[in-house]
């Protein structure tokens, strides 16, 4: 991106004045190297978001931002319903509430090493992953609707995990306002056998070790120490979420004209929150959030069974669960006034700071854990939300490394087998149904997660707590 048009307001904060139909400025958080490498399309897409009705504050892009569809991936925007603010099906995307959860294991790498191959094989065999995999649960329509209203809480009530897990999940595991009647039969049909499945693409299950602790007090409060073994799960709302997006995008595109919305591009499909279609989408999308949280809760149970079979002393305890494709109604301060906004995070993580009323227990004292997924070969991070971030980005930060290269380029550059061998030499076991799929997700296809996280901290959006390196990666 040519930074000429941008004003540098802080070391890691860049600002673009509104022009033309933009209602608010664009603010991009990144260091000089990241912003220089960012595609011009990020800037163009963030500027398009700034044109949508009811947007307040700014149209934000996080340090991992890259060219998406409609919103940039790594885009954050808040809309005031009292000013004609919109909810955008394109802004949430097709993988509603895709997210990451991190589980403490009570194990150290020495416990894992002797059983590493066995653990990798059994996780790959027993966790349904990739296209065509089916979950063991079959939900009838009544159970499906209960799941869509109940989220992770529904899963806990069915015996997947414990009540205490819920305090370690955003929205306490259950998004209120979910309306299954606005979720199509097709979406429900698509989900019938997909509860408890990982999906594919960039989704994964990783066994990781903590290699560095940056904030000892916070790490202690999150139950982390150097050499702790963590299991992370990255996945979303599966077929149900994909279909909700598929159903609502054309409806919103076609309704835009009559609702007086001038869409900068079709993929930004949106509708006023206070319109019938806006209300219906929110009710359906909240079901998608519940579906994703329930899915990760069920998957956790499957992982626990594998761990128990191989390493009986391993006991999985949920550290935290975040969703990074969402729109949620939250209170924020804008121009000195507290207002409630529909905050869209597209490939961006909620990062509430200490004292936020939505947080429970130790998280309220410390801030929300923020889970940043890296690549198979580099690292993942656990950060913590800051008070400052609440003002800078509606309490949001990056979600991962962010792609630096397309799948097609990655496929041309690497062979899956070489990627597996290279990672093997570093002691990382990779399992996946397709070697081409592994090539497309090669670590080199992503930005450097270390610099993304450093820029996030530099901008003040979140603080580093711990760095995790992969030991086993099961690709979806």
């Amino acid at each position: 991106m040519s930074v000429g048009k941008l004003k540098r307001r802080s070391e890691c904060g860049w600002y673009l004045e509104p022009s033309g139909k933009m209602r608010v400025p664009v603010v991009i958080y990144a260091d000089e190297e990241l912003i220089t490498a960012m595609d011009d399309k990020v800037f163009e897409q963030a500027a398009n978001v700034a044109k949508l009705p009811g947007i307040v504050g700014a149209s934000y892009a996080m340090p991992d931002a890259h060219w998406g569809y409609g919103f940039p991936i790594g885009g954050v925007a808040g809309f005031d319903p009292e000013q004609g603010g919109v909810v955008s099906a394109g802004g949430v995307g097709f993988d509603i509430a895709c997210g990451i959860r991190a589980l403490r294991t009570g194990l150290i790498p020495d416990d894992i090493e002797p059983y590493k191959q066995q653990l990798a094989d059994m996780l790959a065999r027993r966790i349904p992953a990739g296209l065509g995999s089916r979950g063991k649960l079959r939900l009838n329509r009544k159970e499906m609707d209960d799941m869509l209203v109940g989220g992770a809480k529904w899963a806990v009530e069915r015996g997947y995990g414990t009540q205490t897990d819920l305090d370690s999940i955003e929205e306490h595991g259950r998004m209120t306002g979910a309306e299954p009647k606005y979720v199509s039969d097709r979406a429900k049909k698509r989900q019938e056998d997909e509860v408890g499945t990982l999906g594919s693409g960039n989704h994964y299950l990783e066994v990781q070790k903590v290699t560095q602790v940056f904030d000892t007090d916070c790490a202690k409060s999150f139950g982390l120490a150097e050499n702790s073994v963590i299991i992370s799960i990255h996945c979303g709302s599966r077929g149900l979420g994909h279909q909700i997006g598929t159903d609502f995008l054309p409806r919103m595109v076609k309704a835009a004209g009559s609702l007086g919305i001038d869409l900068p591009e079709k993929e930004l499909a949106c509708a006023p929150v206070k319109s019938e279609i806006g209300r219906q989408y929110l009710g359906a999308m909240y079901c998608g959030i519940n579906c994703a949280m329930a899915n990760r809760q069920v998957l956790t149970h499957l992982v626990q069974q594998v761990v128990s079979d191989i390493l009986p002393k391993g006991n999985l305890v949920l550290l935290y669960d975040v969703s990074h494709n969402t729109c949620k109604f939250e209170e924020h301060e804008v121009d000195g006034k507290k207002i409630k906004l529909y905050v869209h995070r597209k490939g961006a993580t909620r990062a509430f700071g200490p004292g936020h009323p939505a947080l429970a227990g130790e998280f309220k004292a410390m801030g929300q854990p923020v889970l940043i997924g890296g690549t198979m070969g580099t690292a993942s991070y656990i950060l913590v939300g800051t008070k400052q971030g609440m003002e800078l980005s509606f309490g949001s930060c990056c979600h991962g490394a962010g792609r630096a290269m397309s799948r097609t380029q990655a496929m041309k550059k690497w062979h899956g087998k070489d990627v597996i061998r290279m990672l093997g030499e570093k002691g990382i076991i990779v399992r996946g149904a397709s070697t081409r799929g592994i090539a497309e997700e090669a670590p080199g296809a992503y930005k450097d997660v270390n610099s993304v996280v450093d820029a996030t901290e530099c901008a003040g959006l979140a603080k580093k707590v711990a760095r995790l390196e992969p030991m086993i990666c099961v690709k979806g």
């Binding site: 595609d39 399309k41 890259h66 060219w67 998406g68 569809y69 409609g70 991936i73 394109g90 995307g93 097709f94 993988d95 990739g130 296209l131 065509g132 995999s133 089916r134 097709r186 049909k189 698509r190 019938e192 999906g199 594919s200 693409g201 077929g239 994909h242 279909q243 997006g245 598929t246 995008l249 054309p250 595109v253 076609k254 591009e265 079709k266 993929e267 499909a269 792609r403 290269m405 397309s406 799948r407 097609t408 380029q409 496929m411 041309k412 149904a433 397709s434 070697t435 081409r436 799929g437 497309e440 979806g476």
Partner: protein
């Protein structure tokens, strides 16, 4: 647009040329773009559907054994194109099938399709990735001066 495979091959991508009808994958930073070319709108849509399957597996491995019929209505050609691909993705997801042969009729916004394929066999097809949805990003359905059709969009994987 010139109906050749050169662009795709420059990226080392799959591409198949059969007279004017062919398909391409093209690069998009997060996801993957698909293009279908044909002498008619129907043919361009059919070719794009082949490009869709080719994201998931080697098209040659999918035997056209079982037929599924799909209907979709939409006046706008671009919305119809994305709607068609998403209707196909729905059949793939709920029937656990892959499709490799297509026959379409489009009449005044009414699309009726026959899709032939087979049940997904993970061992045989080694699916690379699941396609979540066809999107409106980079969406184009247009006819060139010679009458050839192009249908393209980015798909979310």
């Amino acid at each position: 647009m010139k109906p050749t495979c050169t662009d795709a091959q420059n990226y080392g991508l799959n591409c198949m040329t059969m007279s004017r009808a062919h398909w391409q994958h093209y690069s998009h930073p997060a996801d993957m773009g698909i293009r279908g070319f044909g002498a008619s709108l129907e043919e361009a849509f059919e070719q794009a559907a082949m490009a869709l399957t080719a994201i998931i597996t080697d098209l040659k491995k999918v035997k056209p054994r079982q037929k599924v019929e799909i209907i979709y209505e939409e006046q706008d050609n671009e919305l119809l194109f994305v709607g068609w691909l998403n209707a196909l993705l729905y059949e793939m997801a709920t029937r656990h099938m892959l499709f490799s042969r297509f026959e379409l009729k489009i009449d005044d916004g009414h699309l009726s399709a026959k899709a032939w394929g087979q049940e997904l066999d993970v061992e045989k097809h080694k699916p690379v990735v699941e396609v979540k949805a066809a999107t409106y990003a980079d969406l184009k359905v247009e006819q060139d001066k010679k009458g050839n059709w192009l249908a393209q969009c980015v798909v979310d994987v």
